[in-house]
Symmetry: C2
Subunit: 251 residues, 2 copies
């Protein structure tokens, strides 16, 4: 009656991970049926595994009964390597206080930037990044700051692909982008204007530890205020240097 039609070669662990992987920024909560479809598991299997995950609070239920990531996983996530974030936070804070603008910290992961911290005030601003979110490198300030200090082979590999173009102002021509990166490296910071989102522009500086780009610090504002960007470069560079120094010294 049952059990015969199993998919061979698939571990239970991979199914558990498929369930967890079904959640992402665009799908933070799912019905059981969606969860089964997105994870590629039969409904009854998804049901059984999700129930056990829910019992452990790895998953929890939204008020409407849909499943979402549970508090326990959030807690666990806080144990992930975060020393950079902790060291950098006071500097983000200081930069925010002295400029009043949105400030964020990102690292490279694969071919994308991953935002690891963000400081923002009540002055509402269009959201361009989300802590835990990912964006491609070439249209973002932090991405360009990081890419400009990566090794040649990496940059070549990055440029060799077809690049996304989220707005008409995104630079995707390999030659032009390479020249842009050269100037970012020369001047020590990157500027963008509506390359990721229409309506916002940014400045970003890499945090270099032993010559390697460990992270990047970025500041974002409405593109109506582009002219103010240049005024923000100096405090931005100072904060980036502060974080770099904090990283170099163990204490």
């Amino acid at each position: 009656m049952a059990g015969g039609q199993r998919e061979p070669g698939r571990t239970v662990t991979s199914k558990v991970l498929a369930i967890l992987g079904a959640f992402d920024a665009a799908h933070p909560q799912l019905t059981l049926t969606d969860l089964a479809r997105r994870s590629g598991l039969p409904l009854s299997t998804a049901h059984r595994l999700a129930a056990e995950l829910e019992r452990w609070q790895a998953l929890s239920r939204a008020p409407d009964g849909r499943l979402r990531v549970g508090l326990r996983l959030w807690e666990l996530g806080q144990l992930a390597p975060g020393s950079l974030r902790e060291l950098a936070h006071p500097w983000l804070q200081e930069l925010f206080v002295s400029t009043g603008e949105n400030v964020h910290l990102a690292v490279r992961d694969g071919l994308e930037v991953l935002y690891v911290d963000k400081v923002y005030g009540r002055r509402a601003v269009p959201i361009v990044s989300r802590v835990g979110g990912r964006l491609p490198m070439h249209p973002t300030g932090v991405g360009k700051a990081l890419l400009a200090h990566e090794e040649d082979w990496f940059v070549r590999a990055y440029l060799a692909r077809e690049l996304e173009r989220p707005t008409p102002r995104t630079i995707i021509e390999p030659g032009r982008l390479a020249r842009e990166l050269a100037s970012v490296r020369a001047q020590g910071y990157a500027l963008t204007c509506e390359e990721m989102t229409l309506g916002s522009c940014s400045a970003a500086a890499p945090i270099l530890v032993d010559g390697r780009p460990a992270a990047a610090l970025g500041i974002v504002l409405s593109s109506r205020r582009v002219r103010e960007l240049s005024r923000l470069v100096e405090p931005l560079l100072a904060a980036a240097a502060g974080v770099a120094a904090a990283c170099a010294n163990p204490q």
Copy 2:
């Protein structure tokens, strides 16, 4: 040769979760042997499962080869219900800017407070809380603010247990603690002085949504500066009210 001595009645999922659960604030990185011992699994089983988790980046390796929670789990954790944190963050920010002190946000989970956000500057201060960390309720400002607005049966149950006493100044006598909670409820905020950590004192206000304590906002300073606490109560209450209003309005 093998396989016969399995422990029956234990699911694979429970073993995967036991591996994840082996990590906590006191043990953020573990050798494989430690991991096996803490999760109660045979070494070879821990090895096999940990390897699969590592492949998915649910776990990663510290430079010294020990295992720790991976970036992917951190990312997942960011998808956990966090609207409260996001709504509240600008207010934490504002409170930090106007006072320059350490500010944090906590919710109740079970019989403990769970710290969900924290804003701090460069002025180094003794760490009393950690985002993702837990502390008992009765010795902390945020804990008392939350407990004071819980229902009677809950408070009675809380007080009925033997209470931890992290410092000699911690209040653990049920009668005295109950009176303390009554006054916290009456005045709308809680104060502590060296009840959790010698050397620090705090003020905290509950964030009441529909009369239920949804979270608490706390501010911590060195106990040499206790006298300044009273000056901070007003901005603290204003920020708490701001968060409460933001929670009440969907937008």
